[in-house]
């Protein structure tokens, strides 16, 4: 009983820590996005709340918390209530299998604890893909339940979008899975240790550069970001699927979008960019005689990779206009799908002959 209690306590602590980090990251992102976007457009971004506007996320959070919660007349109340939650939970639940740091363990009262991953399940990446797909249901249902033409159009566009990117996300990852021989994110990350030439983006025998490009484009579509922000297209559909939402429910959608961004960035870092591995063999802290603190450096590298990926999202948003959804679907089916399939063929052939030669 005590062992079970201890296990529960440790797990809950880990979950609370990860959730806390993700929420803090989202807070930082909301500000960072407005700031970076402003700077790229010769503006200043938010400047009023706190010095240089750094307290803006808190002001936004307080505002959203105290706003009136409106359910429009004629809306399907149950689905309208459920949709934001259905959007938020899949966005957060994927973080359970992300390895934040090295795969080390320590013991508390005979219980082995892995501090940097909540659970290392052997189908980690499938689990993330499955829940990421569920998130789109929140958008579609929210759009349908609102009883508004703009919301409905946003939801329909989301449905059109999901069938054009979902497949490509899955197929672009397959090359990495062939190389790693595992679906567990911990194992995939471990296999990329020892310098950037071992990252699957560059690794022999089959560099996954094309798969990486396909994954990046698809993940932008998956998170509904510019240039694939068709479901919320504010210049066409007011706010798309969350037009009728206000207050906390709107905040849930907002949080889900940013959490999804963090999630796809983490997955990209883990799959293609070596996860928490430094771009050089080993770690500097271990080299100068602090091997017990090497995890600090590793986590820092993971953060650097994730944040540079998130910066790419802002950068694309500042640069590109929105696609039409027929363009998105044509691009998804006629360009990205053949590239992803070709990548699988090339990778599997390369791996096969590589093993033959050995």
């Amino acid at each position: 009983m005590t062992e079970f209690g201890l296990r529960l306590a440790i797990s809950l602590t880990q979950i609370a820590a990860v959730m806390g980090i993700v929420v803090i990251t989202v807070l930082i992102l909301t500000l960072a996005e407005r700031k970076v976007l402003g700077w790229m457009q010769d503006r200043m971004g938010p400047m009023e709340v706190g010095p240089y506007g750094i307290l803006q996320p808190f002001a936004d959070a307080i505002k959203l918390f105290f706003k009136e919660d409106i359910i429009p007349a004629g809306a399907n109340k149950f689905l309208f209530t459920v949709a934001p939650i259905l959007c938020l939970i899949p966005a957060f639940i994927g973080f359970a299998v992300i390895p934040w740091g090295p795969n080390q363990t320590f013991e508390v009262n005979g219980i082995t604890v892995r501090p940097f991953v909540i659970s290392d399940i052997n189908i980690g990446i499938l689990y993330i893909l499955a829940f990421a797909s569920l998130g789109a249901y929140g958008i579609i249902l929210g759009g349908w339940a609102s009883n508004s033409k703009y919301s409905l159009l946003g939801g329909l566009r989301s449905a059109a979008q999901i069938i054009s990117y979902e497949l490509n996300v899955g197929l672009s990852i397959v090359g990495v899975l062939i190389l790693a021989g595992s679906l567990s994110l911990v194992k995939i990350t471990d296999a990329q240790a020892g310098g950037f030439w071992n990252w699957y983006l560059f690794a022999l025998p089959a560099p996954q550069i094309f798969a990486f490009v396909v994954y990046v484009i698809s993940s932008v579509a998956e998170t509904n970001r510019v240039p694939f922000d068709l479901p919320e297209a504010e210049s066409e559909l007011v706010a798309g699927f969350f037009t009728e939402y206000s207050g906390l429910r709107f905040a849930f959608f907002f949080l889900a979008e940013y959490a999804n961004m963090v999630l796809v960035s983490c997955v990209a870092a883990a799959l293609f960019l070596g996860g928490w591995n430094a771009p050089y063999p080993g770690t500097i802290l271990a080299l100068i005689g602090l091997p017990s603190l090497a995890w600090v450096e590793n986590i820092m590298w993971f953060a650097v990779k994730t944040y540079s990926f998130l910066f790419l999202f802002f950068w694309l948003r500042a640069t590109l206009p929105r696609l039409r959804y027929d363009q998105l679907m044509r691009f998804g089916w006629k360009v990205m799908l053949p590239i992803a399939l070709g990548n699988i063929v090339v990778t599997s052939l390369a791996v096969f002959f590589y093993q033959q030669m050995k």
């Binding site: 970076v36 700077w39 790229m40 010769d42 200043m44 950068w315 640069t319």
Partner: protein, 188 residues
């Protein structure tokens, strides 16, 4: 033959551009260069304000001479010139001086004003001026219906340096609406 070879090569070049996202990269380079050479063009408005040009056409005001008398002679020309019918002048004779008139009442409905400056141009005695005030947002529209006292107050705070009376500026010239010493005052 040579031309087909060049088109082939240019086609290849276009294709290469497409697969490397060349155009997108050019755009991203532009946005990044704006980020690196960050020079914001915005002004943090309530905290810092632009210096307005001297001929800025802001809030209208009635002016005074340096001895504190009103310039306005009640001629109604501003009312006639105004395209939006902002101005309403009630003209009257100066008591005891039959050749002089003044504006007994003077109203401006600033909700309608489009700041064209035609009233200022129309005024024969330069009694109207446009200030550089522009922060006239109010909660009640009726606060923008200004009377003579308010317009004079705006003029007082915006034009601290006042002109001399016309007859003192140009002693040898005869002026409209300047009292003639030889005309006897009107009996009451």
């Amino acid at each position: 033959m040579a031309s087909t070879a060049t088109t082939k090569r240019s086609n290849l070049y276009e294709w290469f551009k497409t697969i490397t996202f060349y155009e997108i990269l050019v755009g991203m380079k532009a946005t990044l260069s704006h980020l690196l050479h960050y020079r914001p063009v915005t002004v943090q408005y309530p905290h810092e304000k632009r210096t307005l040009p001297d001929n800025y056409r802001g809030m209208l005001a009635l002016l005074r001479y340096d001895d504190g008398t009103e310039k306005c002679v009640g001629c109604d020309l501003c009312e006639a010139a105004c395209p939006s019918r902002v101005i309403r002048v009630v003209s009257a004779e100066v008591p005891g001086e039959p050749t002089k008139r003044y504006s007994k009442e003077y109203y401006m409905d600033m909700t309608r004003c489009l700041f064209c400056g035609m009233c200022v141009d129309a005024c024969p005695v330069d009694a109207l001026g446009m200030t550089r005030e522009f922060e006239w947002a109010v909660y009640d529209k009726r606060q923008l219906h200004l009377n003579k006292q308010q317009l004079l107050a705006i003029g007082d705070r915006s034009f601290p340096v006042r002109e001399k009376r016309l007859e003192l500026q140009h002693p040898n010239v005869a002026f409209f609406n300047v009292a003639f010493k030889h005309v006897p005052p009107k009996p009451d």
